[in-house]
């Protein structure tokens, strides 16, 4: 494996503007400034949702509860702790690997013009492979979330059941919506790649999508610890 370092300036939003971008007075591409500003605002959105979840945590008079067994006083039905840690751990791993695939897709676009001698270098240099991998891993994460939500509903937890249900579905649902938007964005990059091929001059297009995707990943890192692992 060749440890190549040949990033283009286009991927960093400075130097020359590509694909219709404009420079700021600092010489930075306005699209990259915009995505970082957007990500900053998204930090505050998710902080408010996580705060809401944590404030309401343990304040539901009725279950089901995330980590504790609950017996319904009216029906006598026993509800197990509802969070499924093994499934969520697997989906966390899937999302982390999707971030690896995304960063490899960006590196493949940046290094497209470099010669590839071995089969491994050709695999590493294929943006299509890594964009597809990111898409499929994102879809797998959404599949895990759909499974989790469906099983919760079958076990008696909906948005209207209690405070835990309302805050949990709102927080994880917003995150899932962001992952869905990211997958759709990745499909548009794949469409460009199949139509005319992503060149090093297009690296900024991929970089902006990658920043969004990694942000969705770091939000899940926080959610996984605060909501799932800390009782």
């Amino acid at each position: 494996m060749t440890a190549t370092t040949a990033p283009t300036t286009a991927a960093h939003g400075d130097g020359h503007a590509h694909g219709g971008g404009h420079h700021t007075s600092l010489g930075l591409d306005n699209r990259k400034v915009a995505i970082w500003t957007f990500i900053g605002s998204e930090c505050m959105l998710f902080a408010s949702l996580i705060s809401t979840y944590l404030i309401y945590k343990g304040k539901s008079p009725e279950g089901p509860f995330p980590h504790d067994v609950w017996t319904s006083p009216t029906t006598g039905e026993v509800f197990k702790p509802i969070l499924n840690i093994p499934v969520t751990s697997a989906s966390t791993f899937v999302l982390l690997m999707s971030s690896l695939a995304m960063v490899l897709a960006l590196a493949a676009v940046q290094n497209r013009d470099l010669p590839k001698h071995t089969a491994w270098e050709r695999i590493l240099g294929s943006s299509k492979i890594w964009l597809w991998a990111t898409c499929l891993l994102g879809i797998a994460f959404l599949g895990c979330q759909a499974y989790e939500f469906t099983s919760f509903v079958h076990e008696g937890l909906t948005m209207r059941t209690n405070l835990f249900g309302s805050s949990f579905f709102t927080l994880t649902g917003f995150h899932g919506a962001h992952v869905t938007a990211g997958v759709l964005w990745l499909f548009t990059l794949l469409a460009i790649d199949y139509k005319r091929g992503l060149k090093p001059s297009d690296a900024l297009l991929v970089d902006i999508c990658a920043l969004y995707w990694h942000f969705v990943d770091v939000v899940w890192i926080a959610i996984f610890t605060l909501i799932y692992l800390i009782k």
């Binding site: 494996m1 300036t9 960093h12 420079h23 900053g40 902080a47 705060s51 944590l54 404030i55 009782k231």
Partner: protein, 114 residues
């Protein structure tokens, strides 16, 4: 002139851009930390001890920092981007802690209220 010096400084940063090998190593580190987190959840002695919550928060913060610095390239990027991300992240963190104090959650946990 300012544009040129900024671009030159940035070009210097790019010389230290992570390699493919680095990306794979980072993925292994992230996986190991996640495995340790999940294992801790299933170890009763660890889960019941006072170090559980701090250790989980630290491990989560380390994963967060690694992804932001290396996968999002913030370590190598223009400092304006660090401000655009770090500023709102600081506000978000302070808001979260402030709200938890306001609703007594954190104050109770830290033993500041009876």
């Amino acid at each position: 002139m300012a544009d040129h010096s900024a671009a030159a400084g940035h070009a210097h940063d790019e010389a230290h851009h992570p390699t493919w090998t680095t990306y794979w190593k980072i993925a292994v580190i992230l996986t190991v930390i996640t495995a340790v987190e999940v294992s801790a959840y299933y170890i009763p002695a660890w889960e019941a001890s006072w170090v559980y919550v701090p250790s989980m928060l630290i491990m989560s913060a380390v994963k967060f920092w690694i992804v932001v610095m290396y996968y999002m390239h913030l370590k190598y990027d223009h400092k304006l981007f660090r401000s655009l991300f770090g500023g709102p992240l600081l506000v978000a963190g302070l808001t979260l802690v402030g709200l938890l104090f306001l609703f007594s959650k954190l104050a109770l946990r830290l033993g500041l209220l009876s």
